[in-house]
Symmetry: D2
């Protein structure tokens, strides 16, 4: 029973899109049933259909793009219904200290407010993958690993549901 995973991203330059593809690859390789989607083509109600939601955004002034924020703002209509789902995030930035961590945490905080379950990574990019400019091999590995770990956590929670 594969966990349903949504990888939702916003991208202008294509850097965040490539990260999203790597995350989706990693999630598929781990057995996830993965949907890859641009945020412009999604609505808040769709979030209910997945066991895990992974958000990706470029870094705009230290937080997620307004287009992604807009979807989250609209998700208030379903407040409480994402409780217990798995969440994760990644970001693409121009500079090393350019606001990439604050952007990832911005998305993770929104997920916590929804009651979602998030997990860090003790190796590499701890809060979520960060790309400085175009994704390189290091970023590819971090993204695939995020996909894998997210599926693993969603599977574990699904298997334990009702048995806790």
């Amino acid at each position: 029973m594969a966990s349903k995973v949504l990888v939702l991203y916003y991208s202008r330059t294509g850097n965040t899109r490539r990260m999203a593809e790597f995350v989706a690859d990693g999630a598929k390789a781990a057995g996830g049933n993965v949907t890859l989607k641009e945020v412009e083509n999604a609505n808040a109600e769709e979030l209910l259909d997945y066991e895990a939601i992974i958000l990706g955004s470029p870094v705009y002034y230290g937080s997620m793009a307004a287009e992604m924020k807009n979807l989250l703002d609209e998700s208030v209509e379903f407040h409480g219904k994402l409780d217990g789902k798995v969440g994760a995030a990644f970001a693409s930035s121009a500079n090393i200290g350019g606001g990439n961590e604050t952007t990832i945490l911005d998305m993770l905080n929104a997920m916590l407010i929804h009651g979602m379950v998030i997990q860090g990574n003790p190796a590499g990019d701890h809060y979520g993958p960060v790309s400085i400019g175009a994704p390189d091999e290091r970023v590819k590995k971090q993204c695939r690993e995020l996909g894998r770990r997210t599926v693993q956590l969603a599977n574990r929670l699904a298997a334990g549901a009702g048995r806790g």
Copy 2:
């Protein structure tokens, strides 16, 4: 020579608007030349016209409303030109631990990325005024004080410009 101050806010319920009015009152009482405006009626270019910019937003999933974020995203066209201006922020929330500090810091971080100058307050709400529900007397005082301190800092920077 009064510092030009913009108080820019987004409000649906009216709580953030009332905070904005209190902030504007405090800034005027301190001698500021104050413009109070809803973000829907503003554009990014206007930010260049002020010595100090104070942003206010309701707390939506732990960060500023998409409407406010949209203006900041568009301000990238003027990146570098806000360097050295004064910034400040305030937020209106439903709960005590509902994301109000993260919302204020979300706006302050954006201002830091623009190179702006921000100041905390050693008394009361340290990062910026927080209202839980409708603004009460405590919040009114915090907001007026934010207006006052912002004008004071802007004046001090203006007086010191070119003499540093």
Copy 3:
């Protein structure tokens, strides 16, 4: 098979201690095998013995007390071994906008870096319980709920382990 839960706190005035007791009560009521401990009496190695770790600190300049941070700094010796455990946090502050959210997120971020699993709460204090001054009935309820939800998540993860 009850999940082992550690509630670890630092307290000078007693406010954080009372919060810790409420959290422990909630965790026990949910069937957890709970240990309540002051950070001065704990060492980093003990963290390995629990399925869930809940940290509580007063708000000192927007982040956890140095005494709590010291234990986390020492936990680097066991880096990687807390991966997959459940984490949660709470804080006690003097003011509403006094740094309580940043203090809780400071502890949660440390747990994410350890690879731990955290969950927000869609109702009430989203990131973790916040007390302004001495804990009142509202805070008591938030704390008990944090204990309950943490045990529930730990149980679910334990039941799903190896089955994901």
Copy 4:
């Protein structure tokens, strides 16, 4: 009349120390009267002697080292007396997404709570310089620039004092 600047750091591997030296060099080149000091050799009262305080720490679990936090915790004795001073921060990390921004913001938040004045940088590392491993030329430039901008801001505030 040169502004008095304190560069205060904690360093085990020497990476943060080298950053501190670069920051101090930049501040001196800008005409600052600079003191460079390890946090182990400083006490909270000394903070009162400077117009600008720049803190540097390695990234330990997403926030400043306990040794630095301890000094800030002790600074509560002088709460209110740092109001209006200039603050800045930098951090040294092992990974790109390893918690370096959250560490810098941890220190900046503490300074805001003291009522201090901070400024971001529209170019490069926006919140403060970040080194991934040993400082390279990029980091050296960012650190020198932080020193320069901090002195410039302190001078401007000093020149404008009492004239705002």
